[in-house]
Symmetry: C2
Subunit: 207 residues, 2 copies
């Protein structure tokens, strides 16, 4: 909150524009170094600004990080919406979902490890919790849309809660990410196979 700052007049959005611009640069550094080792100087270094500018747009480091996380979330939540919308059979959905999971690890591994980093840090740092828990809820809903649609297409019921389905798939995904980043060649193939075999387990036997 810009409490101590003088009231911003006309270019109120110019202000937010710079904030997201800084956030975008920060996410690059954060994804590369992780939360702990990303210094404000390094973040500013990877942008076109100098290190002092951060405190012009953000009160402190935590506010920048949280802003980054929320900004990052906004792009994530819709990741599987196309999968849900475009699939007309359960098999299609499973394949599209598994493919998308693999693809996002290939394309956005740094962002994913950053998310897991921040979520873990929130177990230690009080200040991160609110933002992390909010995003976690959003991700749970995102996964639930996929699972629920899968059930509908199959004409069967889901046997788990949204929370369990998310925790379960997130665990498998996280493990695949770790395997991929540590050079296990078959990590992504395993993820695809596990997704294929796991999703049917979430449904009740056909009525």
């Amino acid at each position: 909150m810009a409490a101590t700052r003088t009231a911003r007049k006309a270019p109120a959005d110019k202000y937010d524009e710079r904030r997201t611009q800084l956030a975008e640069s920060a996410l690059l550094t954060l994804g590369e170094l992780g939360y702990a080792r990303s210094s404000l100087r390094e973040i500013a270094n990877n942008s076109e600004f100098s290190h002092g500018v951060v405190h012009y747009y953000f009160a402190d480091k935590l506010e920048l990080i949280i802003y980054c996380v929320r900004y990052y979330k906004a792009r994530c939540v819709t990741r599987y919406d196309a999968v849900v919308a475009d699939s007309s059979t359960p098999e299609q959905l499973v394949e599209a979902f598994a493919a998308k999971l693999v693809e996002t690890i290939l394309d956005e591994a740094p962002m994913h490890r950053l998310w897991y980093d921040l979520r873990t840090q929130s177990m230690f740092e009080e200040g991160l919790r609110e933002a992390v828990l909010m995003i976690d809820r959003t991700l749970e809903e995102m996964i639930w849309r996929v699972v629920a649609r899968y059930a509908t297409l199959s004409g069967r019921d889901v046997v788990t809660t949204p929370a369990a389905a998310y925790g379960l798939l997130d665990g498998v995904f996280q493990r695949a990410l770790l395997g991929h980043l540590t050079g296990r060649a078959d990590a992504l193939d395993d993820l695809r196979d596990q997704t294929r075999s796991l999703l049917p387990l979430l449904l009740a036997p056909a009525t």
Copy 2:
């Protein structure tokens, strides 16, 4: 490796004794502050030694951390062995396993969040990977012993790979830990319920 150090003579075990003693103190600090914010000074401060002693027994910070992780692992792996050994029906095993999961979150939450912290950091820091991956394999085997025993007691087959079973249960466990640490009152009850409903899903329909 104590390469540059002069060969230790008689009390070779006294040396290792101090190392584990330091590791034990370090684990307290690490569990409280996390990997990034645990300084050697703070670690030594929570022990009965001064901050310089760390470099007498460990080459650098990373060696201490890795020693800690391996030491921590040694106590973990057998956590569910009693569950496996003492259960004579599938229902007993599920209840005992679920109860043990809840219990270890209650009793050792700092250690668990530390483990997730280190595992996540290994996605960024090369030096941690070897130790982390080794422990992760050990944990996978630990979980597999439970699941396999559950299948045997049920007279059914497991439908997942050990890797998938571990990833899946670990995800649910991690989520429960986060919920518990962030004050969600029903986090542990949910974990118990989810364990009860998830384990049967891992088994093939009765032959």
